[in-house]
Each structure stands twice: as C-alpha cells, then as structure tokens.
Symmetry: C2
Subunit: 206 residues, 2 copies
Amino acid sequence: MSEVPGLRERKKIRTRQALIAAALELFMEKGYEQTTVSEIAAAADVSTRTFFSYFASKEDVIFYNTRDGIDRVLRVVAEPRPDDRAIDLLTRAVTSVFSELVLDGQLQREIGPVNYLVMTVPSLRARSLLLLFEGQRELAEALHRACPEELSLVEASAAVGAVIGGGKLAAFVSMSNGASPEEMLDAGRQATEFALSALRAASRVS
Amino acid sequence: MSEVPGLRERKKIRTRQALIAAALELFMEKGYEQTTVSEIAAAADVSTRTFFSYFASKEDVIFYNTRDGIDRVLRVVAEPRPDDRAIDLLTRAVTSVFSELVLDGQLQREIGPVNYLVMTVPSLRARSLLLLFEGQRELAEALHRACPEELSLVEASAAVGAVIGGGKLAAFVSMSNGASPEEMLDAGRQATEFALSALRAASRVS
DNA sequence: CCAGAAAACTACATCAGGTGCAAAATTACA
DNA sequence: TGTAATTTTGCACCTGATGTAGTTTTCTGG
C-alpha cells in the first residue's frame, strides 16, 4: 500500500488546498458574505463550476478538515484498553481533542481563521454546531458499542451530550467575552473536566 | 393596555399564520427542499415578495414561534424566589420546558411537523441547533446575573451547556432510534434530571 | 363620507448559490 | 502515439433573497 499518487491525485489535492487557502484569505479580508464563489475560484485559478466539484457548498470549504478531528476521537473509543470503563473511554476521547488542538502545526494556520469565522458568522456557527452534534451522535454510538452492558445508547448520549455541551458553551461564552484563544481553551477544558468528574461521582453511586 | 388591535394588525397576524400553516402543510406533503417560497406564498394568497416581509428566510417560517419558548425559560430565571440557589433556578427553568411541552394545545399542532422536519432536514437541524445554542447563552447569562457571587459566567455556561446538551442529545438519539414522541420526551427528561442531580451532588462538595 | 398620510402589497429587475449537461481539455495507459 | 477515462469548463437554468418604485389598502381627522 501507500502507492505514490498519480499526477491526477496530486493535482486534485493541490487544487483543493488552493481553494481552501484562497477562500480563507478572502473571507478574512472582505468578509464571508461579501466573498463570492466566483472570486474564490478565480483566486485559485479554476472555473466557478469546478469549485462545486470540490465542495458541495460555499460553507463546506470552511469545514473540510473537521472530519479528521472527529475520526480521531472516534478511534480512541473504538480501541479500548483492557479494564476501560465507559467513563475512562469518554475521558480519554474528550481530552485527546485538547491535546491535539494545541500542537498540529499544519492545521494551526487554519484554525484561527475558521474559529473567527464561526464565531462571527451565524450561518457558519449553525453549520459548525450541526457537525459537532452529528459527531456527538457518533461518539455516543461508539461509546455504547464499546460498553454495551454498562451504558444504554440513551445513557451514553446523555453523558456525551453533557460533557461536550458543557465544554462547548463554556468555551464559546468565554471567547465571546473577550478571552484569548488560550483562555477559551482553558474554559472548555475546565468545563469538560468538571462534567466528567461529576459523571464519575454519579457513576460510583449508581 | 390590551388595546383592540386594528384591522391592519389583525390582518398581518392572519397572513402570518396563513403562511406558517401553508408552509408546514406543503413541507410535509412534498418535502422542504421541494417546496418553493412562491408556492407557499401562492397557497397563502400573497405575492412571493410579501413572504419575505413576514419572514427573513424560508427557514424562519419554521422557527417563528420558538422565541416565545426561550423567553418563558428566561423569565423563570429572571424572577427568582427567595433562597433560590443557582441549581434551583436551573432546575425550575429546565423542567418548565417539559411541562409546557406537554400541554399547550395551540402549539401542539405545529410541534409535530416542526419536530419531524428538524429531524429529517439537515439545514433545519443546523438552524435549530443554532437557536438552541443562542438560547443557552442567554440562559447562562441570566443565571449568572441571578447568582453572580455563586457562579461565574463561565461556570454558569458549563452547567447550562451540560444539562441542555445532555438532554438534547439523549432526546434526539432516542427519537432517531424509532422512539415515540413520548419516549423521546422521557429520554430528554431523564438525561437532564441526571445531569442536574450530578450538578447538585458536585455543588454540595465544592 | 371624504381626503390625505401611512403602511402594506405587488411587480420587476437583479444577484449569488447551486445543479444538470454536453463539449473540450487533460491524464492514464497500452 | 492513440484511445479510453477523468476533469475541467462554459452555458442554461432554477431557487432564495434583496432593492426599488409604484399601486392598493388602511387609518386618521375633519
């Protein structure tokens, strides 16, 4: 495996990255709504029609890379260690997000703009919430599959929703109150850890 | 107060209701995307342009009434009883949603279709998540305002996000696994109550 | 009941996002 | 090099949404 990709594949990847880069630059420069798909395509030197063969919509160019992050989280739950309880899996899955968010130089260049756009453009915020929500569903399913006798699907959903819901809202509110990206991350981490410890305490009782 | 609204006002209300009713009917009959705004306007006997003076977008016709629900919840927190702690306010606010959701015959006719559409149409689900998210922000702010020395804004956000996030995901997953509306409501209620009791336990320790 | 002001409605023009389609250009491969 | 497969492109077309200007309806005071 690991075939050398042909010219076709390499060109496609280059074009896709060029579209993403051009789009982010234009969005940051003149605003998301004010930027047309034609302008993005022109900046990446392809036709407008071609843009839509790479991305189904103007929004999609922003979120193309988010799928990878979700898959990484799912993989943590899909590969449990011996003696893992559900709470352990959920803890590792959630905290893995934060550790990867800090490093990852490749993405770091995009995360800033994407974050800013999601914070300021309602339609992008809606889309981002949808992606996060579907990700939570998948995570809840995976968690239930990993520990079917410990957690029902609905219980797993309640746990996942509580942990991620708390972290997300805390991070967002903190940032929209003028916190720095580091402080925002910290608020999210504290909120998720708080929810996790509350879950741990509750699971010891029951 | 309570002036008798003039003919103008009454007509506007009737037109708006006619548009909502026509839209929901058409959406259920032939699908959301397959229904055009012109068709909705025609069914309500107004011009296409007039539709957009009542609703800013095709999506908005679905969510016109949701603002009321959010305001009701906020009012619970804005009017605390003596000796209320934050957890009491949050509990009353969240449980008030469920009690109102059961009765309320006026809305009950719309909730079914809206619920179905949100479950099946991704763009509507995104929009609904956005509205819920912004509602959570407001609720967290209100909760912090009501108990400023007990909860910081970020702590309030963590609590609100955890409770509502857990309830929402549990309800949605349960319904998309074929549960009846009653079972869905019950899953949501159990998840929120679980999160609330976990919060209560945690707040006793700290 | 009427005249004039205010508000609402309508038609029309226009633009951006998005899709289907067929021709043209590019790549792959024998 | 020639040919099949894949991409790209231009073009026609549809829907959602906005600006504008003119028409109709409602409201108010006499």
